[in-house]
C-alpha cells in the first residue's frame, strides 16, 4: 500500500490499476483525521502566538506537516470500482484513530506529556469526548488548551457526522435519517452532502451561542471558548482551575448540556421553524422524563446534604446522562444508590443523533418494544406483531441492529472490565471505568461518590480502556465491522488458502 502511495496511481502492473474499496476508504479516513488535526494545530498555533506562548513553533510546524501529508494522501488516492458500507465504516474508524495519533503526537512534541502512553490516553480521551484526563492543564499554554478542547470539539462533530451522514445511508437505520420532506418540512438529511452541510450549519452556530452565553455569565472569553467546546461536544474537558464554580456559569452549562444531548434532528426542526409538535417525539419525551425523574431521585437520595439544590442536582444528572462528564464533587455523604444512578444514566446516554455516547435512548426504546413484542408472542404465538417507533413500523433490520449493539455493548464492557481488573485496578473502579469508557463519559466515581483520578491508575489498565473508548465513540458496531473487515482483508492479503494448496500440491508431486 505504501509503495502504491509513493508511486502514484499507475503502480504495480503499469496499467491504470484501481484501488480496492478498503484501501481507498482507510486512506481517505486517515487523510480526514490528519486534516482535522492540522486545522486544530494551526489554529492553536496562531492563538498561542497571540498569547505569547512557547508552543507556537511546534504547533505551526506540526500542523503544516500534517496538512501536507494529508494533501499528499488525498491526491494519490484512486477511486475504487465500488465501495461497500463496511469499508466506509472502516474509513470512519481510521479517521478517528489517525486524529488520535496526530493529537498524541502534538502532546509529545510540545512536552505536555512525558510518556507516549499518557499522550495517547489524553488524545484518545479528548477525541472520543470521554473526559478522563491524566495531564495537568494548569501548566498548558493557550495553544495546548485549545488543542485539548478542540480535539473534543472535532470528536463531537465526527460523532454527529457518523450518526447522521454515514450510518443512516449505509443501510442501517435509514428510516430515522429525517429524509422526508412531508408536511412541508425541510429535512435535515435528504442526501449525504446536504446532511453534512446542515450539521455544520447547526454545530458551529450552537458552539458560538454557548460561547456567548458563558461569556455573558461572567467567564472570560478564552475560558468561555474552552467551556463551550467541551459542552457542545459533550466532551467535558475544562481548563485549569474550577471554571464552573460560578452559579450562573453552571446554569449555562446545564442548558448547554441538555441541548447538546438532544437529537440534532430536533434542534434542526426548532431552527427551521417546525418546532410545534416536537413533544410528540417519544424519544424527546423519554429523554426529558429521564432527566426529570433522575433529578428527583438525586434530590431524594441526597437527603439533607449541604449545598445540594436543584441546580446541583440538574448539573450532576445532566452531566451524566449527556455523557459530558463535567466534574462535581459530592457534598456530604452520598447514599449507596447515587453512584449507581449516575452509572446507569451514563450507560443509557442521551438521544440518538446527538454528540453524546452511551447506549442512547432510541436504541433502548427499540429494545423495550421488541421485548414487549416477545411477551405478546408468548401469550399469542401466532400473532403478527411489529415493533413500532414514533407511530411508524420499524424495519426488522433496525431492530436487529439494536439487539446486536446491546450484545456488543455488554461484550465490550465485560471484556474491558476483566482486562482492566486483571491489570491492577480494583473491581468497583474497573467496572465503573469500563462503563464510562464504552459510554465515552467521565468522570469515574468511587462507591462513595468521590471522583477517581485516572493518572493514579496503573498504566496497563489505562491502556486497556482505549479500545473501549474508540468503540464507544464509533457507536460500537462500526468498530466491530472494521475489526472484522481488517481481519478478512489481512487474510486475503496473506492468501493463506492458496499457499496451503500450493504446499499440498508440491507435497503430492
Amino acid at each position: 500500500m505504501i509503495r502504491s502511495l509513493l508511486a502514484g496511481p499507475a503502480a504495480g502492473t503499469g496499467s491504470d490499476r484501481t484501488w480496492g474499496g478498503i484501501r481507498t476508504a482507510t486512506t481517505w479516513g486517515a487523510a480526514v483525521g490528519m486534516i482535522s488535526a492540522a486545522c486544530l494545530a494551526l489554529t492553536a498555533g496562531l492563538v498561542d502566538l497571540t498569547a505569547g506562548g512557547g508552543d507556537t513553533p511546534v504547533l505551526l510546524m506540526a500542523g503544516g506537516l500534517a496538512g501536507v501529508a494529508s494533501s499528499l494522501l488525498v491526491a494519490r488516492v484512486n477511486r475504487p470500482d465500488r465501495i461497500r458500507p463496511s469499508e466506509v465504516l472502516s474509513g470512519a474508524t481510521t479517521a478517528l484513530v489517525s486524529m488520535v495519533l496526530c493529537v498524541a503526537g502534538l502532546y509529545l512534541l510540545t512536552g505536555a506529556a512525558g510518556q507516549p502512553d499518557d499522550a495517547l490516553f489524553e488524545a484518545t480521551s479528548g477525541v472520543t469526548t470521554t473526559a478522563l484526563s491524566v495531564l495537568d492543564p494548569s501548566s498548558f499554554g493557550r495553544g495546548l488548551l485549545l488543542v485539548r478542547a478542540g480535539s473534543q470539539w472535532f470528536g463531537g462533530l465526527g460523532a454527529l457526522v457518523l450518526a447522521v451522514v454515514i450510518l443512516p445511508f449505509q443501510g442501517r437505520g435509514g428510516e430515522f435519517a429525517d429524509r422526508s420532506g412531508r408536511d412541508g418540512r425541510i429535512p435535515l438529511a435528504p442526501n449525504q452532502r446536504v446532511a453534512l452541510r446542515n450539521i455544520f450549519a447547526l454545530y458551529v452556530p450552537l458552539s458560538l451561542v454557548i460561547w456567548l452565553a458563558y461569556t455573558l455569565a461572567g467567564s472570560g472569553c478564552f475560558d468561555s471558548l474552552l467551556l463551550a467546546m467541551a459542552t457542545v461536544s459533550t466532551g467535558g474537558f475544562t481548563g485549569p482551575g474550577n471554571l464552573l464554580a460560578d452559579g450562573e456559569t453552571r446554569w449555562v452549562a446545564v442548558v448547554g448540556m441538555i441541548l447538546s444531548g438532544t437529537s440534532i434532528v430536533v434542534l434542526w426542526r426548532l431552527v427551521v421553524g417546525r418546532g410545534r409538535g416536537l413533544l410528540r417525539s417519544r424519544e424527546l419525551r423519554s429523554y426529558l422524563s429521564i432527566l426529570i425523574v433522575a433529578t428527583g431521585l438525586f434530590l431524594a437520595w441526597s437527603g439533607p446534604m449541604e449545598g445540594v439544590d436543584l441546580r446541583e442536582a440538574l448539573f450532576t444528572v445532566s452531566s451524566a446522562i449527556t455523557t459530558t462528564g463535567f466534574p462535581s464533587d459530592p457534598m456530604g455523604e452520598w447514599s449507596a444508590a447515587l453512584p449507581v444512578l449516575l452509572l446507569l444514566l451514563v450507560a443509557i446516554g442521551p438521544m440518538t443523533g446527538s454528540a453524546g455516547g452511551g447506549f442512547q435512548i432510541l436504541r433502548l426504546r427499540i429494545l423495550l418494544n421488541s421485548a414487549t413484542r416477545e411477551m405478546v408472542r408468548q401469550l399469542h404465538p401466532r400473532v403478527v406483531a411489529r415493533v413500532r417507533l414514533g407511530g411508524r413500523v420499524a424495519e426488522e433490520s433496525t431492530v436487529r441492529q439494536a439487539t446486536v449493539v446491546q450484545f456488543v455493548f455488554v461484550a465490550v464492557l465485560f471484556t474491558t472490565a476483566l482486562v482492566v481488573a486483571t491489570l491492577g485496578l480494583d473491581m468497583a473502579a474497573a467496572l465503573s471505568a469500563s462503563v464510562h469508557a464504552v459510554s465515552t463519559a467521565g468522570p469515574v466515581r468511587a462507591l462513595d461518590g468521590s471522583i477517581l483520578d485516572p493518572s493514579g491508575w496503573p498504566r496497563p489498565s489505562r491502556m486497556a480502556l482505549l479500545p473501549a473508548m474508540v468503540s464507544g465513540r464509533l457507536f460500537l458496531y462500526p468498530a466491530a465491522v472494521t475489526g472484522g473487515t481488517l481481519l478478512i482483508e489481512l487474510g486475503n492479503q496473506l492468501r493463506l488458502r492458496r499457499r496451503w494448496r500450493r504446499w499440498r500440491a508440491r507435497g503430492t508431486r
Binding site: 463496511s86 449507596a336 449507581v340 413484542r373 408468548q378 446491546q406 465485560f414 473491581m427 465491522v481
Partner: protein, 527 residues
Amino acid sequence: MAGPRDQMSAIQSRWATTTGHVAGLALLFVAAGMGLGTLVELLDGTDGGAMAGATAITAGIGLLLWRSTRPGRLDHATVFTAVGGTWLIVSVLGALPYLLAGTFDRPGIGLPVVIADALFESVSGYSASGSTVFGSHNPIAAQGTGLLLYRQLTQWIGGMGIVVLVVTVLPSVRAAGLGLIDAEAPGAGVDRLAPRVADTARRFWLLYLGLTILVAVGLLAAGMGPFDAVAHSLTTISTGGFSTRDASIGHWDSLAIELVIMLGLVIGAANFTLHARSLGTRRPLHQRDPEFRGYLGVLGVGTILATLMLCADGYGPATALRNGAFNVVTLGTSGGFGNATTRGGPGDFASWPAGPQVLLLFLLVFGGCTGSTSGGVKVMRLRIGAAHAYRTLRSIRRPRAILPVRFGNMVVADHLVERVAGFVVVYGMFLVGGTLVVAALGSDLLTALSGVASALGNMGPALNQAGPTASFVDGYSSPGRMVLALLMLVGRLEIFPMLLMVVAPYRAIQRHAPGRRPDRWWRRFPR
C-alpha cells in the same frame, strides 16, 4: 352473548380455579417433604411439633385447593398465571416450618424481619438458588436435622420443577401438560421422551432420582457421613447449593468430596434430555451436542483463566487450580457451594483479586444448559445471541447475502432468534433495574449488582459483602432481601411467566373493559 364484564369474570374464575388446582397438588408434594422432615426429627428425638404443624397446615390447604377446584381451558394466559401463582403459593407456604420453629427469631429482631427471612430462605430453596440468611449470628449447625433435611428437599423439589411434578400425576391437566412444563422453563423447548407428556415428566423425575442416588453414593465413598451425603446429593443435582454446614463444602476440606460435588454439578447443569437419550441408546450423545460442548468450553476456559490469575496473585499452582476450578464450576453451573475453610482463605472468592472476581461476575449471568436444573441466561441463548450478532455484522459487509443463524449444524429460525433477543433484553433490564432498587435499599454497587445477578441466575453467593463466607443478612437490608427473593422467583421461571402473570390480566381487562381508552395528553398538541 355474554357481555364484557361476564367474560372478564369467567376469565378470572378460570385463572383462579386452574391456579388453585395446580397449586393444591403442588402443596401436597411440599407437605410430603415436610412430613419427611417431621419423621427425621421424631427419629432423631428432637421436638418435631413445628414441622408436624407445618405439614398439617400445608397438606390441609393443598387438599382443600385441589379438591375444590377444577382446571379450566388452558390457554396461554391461564397457563402462565397457573405456573406463576403455583410458585408464589408454594414459596410462601414453604416458609411455614421456619416460622413455626422460630428459626429466624432473634432478640431485637421484629416480626416483619423474621417473616421476611423465612420467606427468603423458602424462596431460595424452591428456586434452587442457594442464597441464605443463616450465618454466624444464626448458624446452620444449630438447627434440627429434620428442618435441615426439609431445607435440602426444597431445592431438590424446586430444581426439577414443581409443575413438572404436578403434571406426572394430575390427569386433568395432562393434555396441556407440555404447555405447563414449557411455561415453567420457557427457553427449554421440552423434548418428549415418551408419547404422553405425563410419561415424559415421570421419566425426567426418575432420571433425576437416579442421579441423586449416584451422587449420594459418590459422596459416601468420598468420606461424607450418611446424612450429609444424602443432604448434599439433593442440592448437588438440583444445582441448589444449600449445605448442612456453615462452611459449606469447606467444612470437610476434602479434594475427593469437592471433585464429586463438581461432577454432580456439571451433570445437573447439563440438558437432562441428553442424559435420558444417552441412557436410552446406551452410548453418550453429549459430545455431539453443541450446547454441551459450549458449556464445557466456558467452564474449561473459566477455570484456566481463574487459575492463571490466582497464580499471578501469588497462590501456588495446585491451590489456584483447586479453588479456581471449584468456584468456577460452582458458579458456572449455578450451584452455589463454597469451599472456603476460613474467611479470607484461598476458597473465599470475595477476597480474590479483582480480575478473577470480574470473571465470576460474568459467570453469575452465564448459567448452564437449557433443560437442566441450573439458572442463568443459559449457554444456548448466549450462543444464539453471539451467532445473531455475527450474522448481522457480516450482513453489513454483504448486504444481499442470505445468512442464517446457525447453532451447531442447525439453522435457527428467525422467530426463535427474536425470542432469545427479547429474553436477553428483559433479563438485562431486570439486572439493571434490580441493581438500582437494591442499591437504593442500602447496598453498595458491587454487592447490589452481584446480588441481583446471583438472584436472577439462581446462583447462590454473591460478591463483596455477600461472599461465600458471609450471609445475605450482612450485605442487604430486609426490604433488599425481599427484592432479591422476588428476583429469584423471576429468574427460576425464566422471567416471562412471572411478568405475564401480571401483564396477561391487564391485557384481558383492556380487551374486555367497556368504554374506550382516553386520548393521550400529547395528542392534543397540533401538528
